[in-house]
């Protein structure tokens, strides 16, 4: 009785120690994962920042005035007058 309870105590003792160690390991693990998450979030934010900048750049490049002047000056395009337009009905 006394012997078994001592063994039980020992088992519990080691269990406690073991679990304590596991807690430490898991905590460390969770911290590493958290850092990863933060890094990925950072990456995501950087990505969306870049996306916003590119959108802005695209809209500047596709600016109507710019396209219009380039079409007229560089490509020599012009707006057709009414008698040059033909409408095709389906």
């Amino acid at each position: 009785m006394k012997f078994t309870s001592a063994i039980g105590l020992m088992v519990l003792y080691f269990l406690v120690i073991g679990l304590a160690l596991l807690v430490i390991v898991n905590r460390q693990h969770s911290r590493t994962l958290f850092t990863d998450v933060r890094n990925l979030e950072q990456k995501r934010d950087d990505g969306s920042d870049k996306w916003a900048r590119l959108r802005l750049e695209q809209s500047t490049r596709l600016n109507q005035v710019r396209v219009d002047t380039r079409a007229k000056q560089e490509l020599g395009m012009q707006k057709p007058s009414a008698d040059e337009i033909r409408v095709i009905h389906e």
């Binding site: 905590r27 969770s30 911290r31 958290f34 850092t35 933060r38 934010d45 969306s48 920042d49 916003a52 900048r53 959108r55 802005l56 809209s59 500047t60 596709l62 600016n63 109507q64 005035v65 707006k79 007058s81 009414a82 008698d83 337009i85 033909r86 409408v87 009905h89």
Partner: protein
């Protein structure tokens, strides 16, 4: 052995003491040191035009911070080193800032020379770096050091706020001591002045204060989140303990605006307002079939990218929606439509306008000359006040009032624009004879330009009034029938007479398209009992096109032009240009081409019913 046990015992007791009795206190202290509540900022959503082009977008910017003491100390040290090296005296004790000394060699003359060069090089580099900083942050040359000197006692100052990333990284790449950066977001408005009133702007905290930015602020802003976490020695977050609130990113808002038409409309209106030396101007382009606002511009405008540039608060007013005024002659087609609807006249009647004036005691309605007996198209083309009054007087006031009410007079349009006015339409019970006549040609009631454009929309949508909206409409909306399809078609046909050679709206003609519209000139009321001004007026043109299958409504209004005289001359050219380009941009087929007549010959001219759209 006993000693060891004793020590262990003492330690255990101490541990128990700390863990059991002091636990709360210590935990608190630890939390203060390592627990932090971190705000996770929400990204503000974009405002897009109907084709997905950005009209307001948040992009990252950097604010450059500097600790004056550190930077000044580094600068002083280099300068000192340089001087010492140049004098050649203390070379032995001075270590050049970036010099690598060959330890083995002694202090030869060559080495002293080398040390001198290195010190000079380091100093020149430093000066160059400071110069770069000045260039990139927009400071004047030589301004940086005195500024740092002035703020010497502050722990940190901003060298520049909201720099574009390229400039910021150019500064950061110099790796100057004490210089760091902070990420921020700034709102950019690619359409600048052209869409200022519609899009609005945000204040320095990123909260919407004008336009759609204000109306849809909650949706755009999202909700910043908050997490509680543990930080390490370098203040980096290493563990999340608790999520206090979840971050909800802002959503994008898509407008019904077509930024191409918006820009064009702004450009044309601005040019015209400038040419006429007018006080202000507004323009609305409406898609009658969906009720969407394709463009809404005002002059004077403001640049939302530059809050400080707003000197006058009048600049901020979205006049097209917030300002009400008596519409004048542009109301006449509505009077005729109301009369047709209440069946007091038919489309082919002639109205006798002789002798060109009607007297109501003190109040006189008059035309430029006696037009005699005229048809309805001529009434519109000549813009006869007497004719319009006669038509209005034929109607039961209640019918007239009901008709105007149905078209949105005296009611907030609820388009989603901030500060919309309801205009003014008094109850028919209080209308006297004079009111009834005046209402016929656009006096005695007031509306915003947006309301007027909206009221013309049924002419272009087969008699259906769609709810007006500044936001893109994806699902088909159900309109309200405000007049019969026949009335709408008849009035459009009559309004075509205005935009013909000899009509008041001749300047509104668009090449390739048939246009129907109406000019308007409304003299300004000077206040109660003072009557009307003779030289201050609001001139306007509202029209629909293409007349054979109308789709767009364009309404132009110019306030107090100093040069030209009537609506036909002042506002119609703007209408013509904007309408022409808008039709072209939206790929709406022309209906008035020289070669087209043969092609459409198989269709009889009097098509009974056009498919309601």
């Amino acid at each position: 052995m006993l000693g060891l046990l004793l020590v262990i015992g003492v330690l255990l007791l101490r541990a128990v003491y700390l863990e059991v009795f002091q636990q709360e206190d210590l935990q608190k202290k630890a939390d203060i040191r390592q627990l932090r509540d971190v705000v996770v900022p929400a990204y503000r959503g974009m405002i897009l035009d109907r084709n997905g082009e950005p009209m307001a977008i948040s992009t990252p910017v950097e604010s450059i911070k500097c600790e004056p003491k550190k930077l000044l100390a580094a600068y002083e040290k280099l300068r000192h080193d340089n001087e010492v090296a140049r004098q050649g005296t203390g070379a032995a004790v001075t270590k050049p800032a970036e010099g690598q000394q060959d330890a083995a060699a002694g202090k030869s003359a060559a080495e002293q020379q080398q040390a001198r060069d290195t010190a000079a090089g380091a100093f020149t580099r430093m000066e160059g770096a400071l110069h770069t900083v000045e260039q990139q942050t927009g400071l004047a040359e030589g301004e940086l050091l005195p500024r740092l000197e002035k703020d010497k006692d502050k722990s940190s100052v901003y060298l520049a706020r909201y720099l574009p990333l390229e400039n910021a990284s150019a500064v950061l790449d110099l790796e100057l001591p004490g210089v760091s950066s902070e990420r921020d977001y700034r709102r950019y408005y690619p359409q600048v002045d052209a869409a200022g009133h519609v899009v609005g702007m945000t204040d320095s905290d990123g909260k919407g204060i004008e336009g759609v930015e204000k109306v849809r602020n909650d949706m755009l802003a999202g909700k910043p989140g908050k997490i509680r976490g543990i930080i390490d020695g370098q203040k980096r977050l290493v563990e999340q303990v608790d999520q206090l609130s979840e971050m909800q990113p802002g959503q994008d808002v898509q407008l019904s605006i077509d930024q191409r038409i918006q820009y064009l409309a702004y450009k044309e209106l601005l040019t015209r307002v400038y040419e006429l030396n007018a006080k202000a101007g507004s323009l609305v382009v409406l898609d009658a079939h969906t009720g969407e606002i394709l463009a809404m511009v005002n002059v004077p405008s403001f640049n939302p990218n530059n809050r400080k540039g707003v000197v006058d608060w009048h600049q901020l007013r979205n006049r097209a929606a917030t300002d009400k005024a008596e519409p004048g002659s542009t109301l006449k087609p509505l009077t005729i439509a109301a009369a047709l609807e209440s069946r007091v006249i038919g489309p082919d009647v002639e109205i006798n306008t002789s002798p060109g004036r009607i007297n109501f005691g003190k109040y006189v309605v008059k035309d430029h000359r006696d037009y005699g007996s005229i048809s309805l198209p001529t009434l519109l083309a000549k813009s006869s006040n007497v004719g319009a009054s006669r038509v209005a007087l034929l109607m039961n006031p209640r019918d007239h009032w009901m008709f105007l009410k149905r078209l949105g007079f005296g009611r907030v349009p609820d388009a989603g624009v901030s500060g919309e006015t309801a205009g003014e339409l008094r109850d028919y019970a209080s209308w006297g004879q004079v009111d009834r006549a005046a209402h016929g040609y656009g006096y005695g009631l007031s509306v915003s330009l947006l309301q007027m454009a909206h009221a013309y929309a049924p002419f272009a949508a087969g008699g259906l009034l769609m709810p007006v909206s500044i936001y893109k409409v994806d699902q088909p909306v159900t309109g309200q029938r405000v007049m019969s399809e026949k009335t709408a078609r008849d009035v459009v046909r009559m309004m075509e007479a205005v935009v013909h050679k000899g009509g008041t709206g001749e300047a509104a003609m668009v090449e390739g398209y048939r246009v129907a519209g109406k000019t308007g000139t409304a003299y300004k009321h000077l206040g109660k009992g003072k009557g009307y001004s003779t030289d201050r007026y609001m001139t306007s043109f509202i029209g629909v096109a293409p007349a054979s299958r109308p789709r767009l409504v364009v309404a132009v209004q110019i306030d107090e032009p100093k040069v030209d005289d009537s609506g036909g001359k002042a506002a119609a050219p703007v209408f013509s240009k904007v309408m022409g380009e808008a039709l072209r941009l939206l790929d709406i087929p022309p209906d008035n081409l020289p070669g087209l007549k043969q092609a459409t010959q198989p269709q009889p001219p009097a098509t009974p019913v056009q498919g309601a759209t």
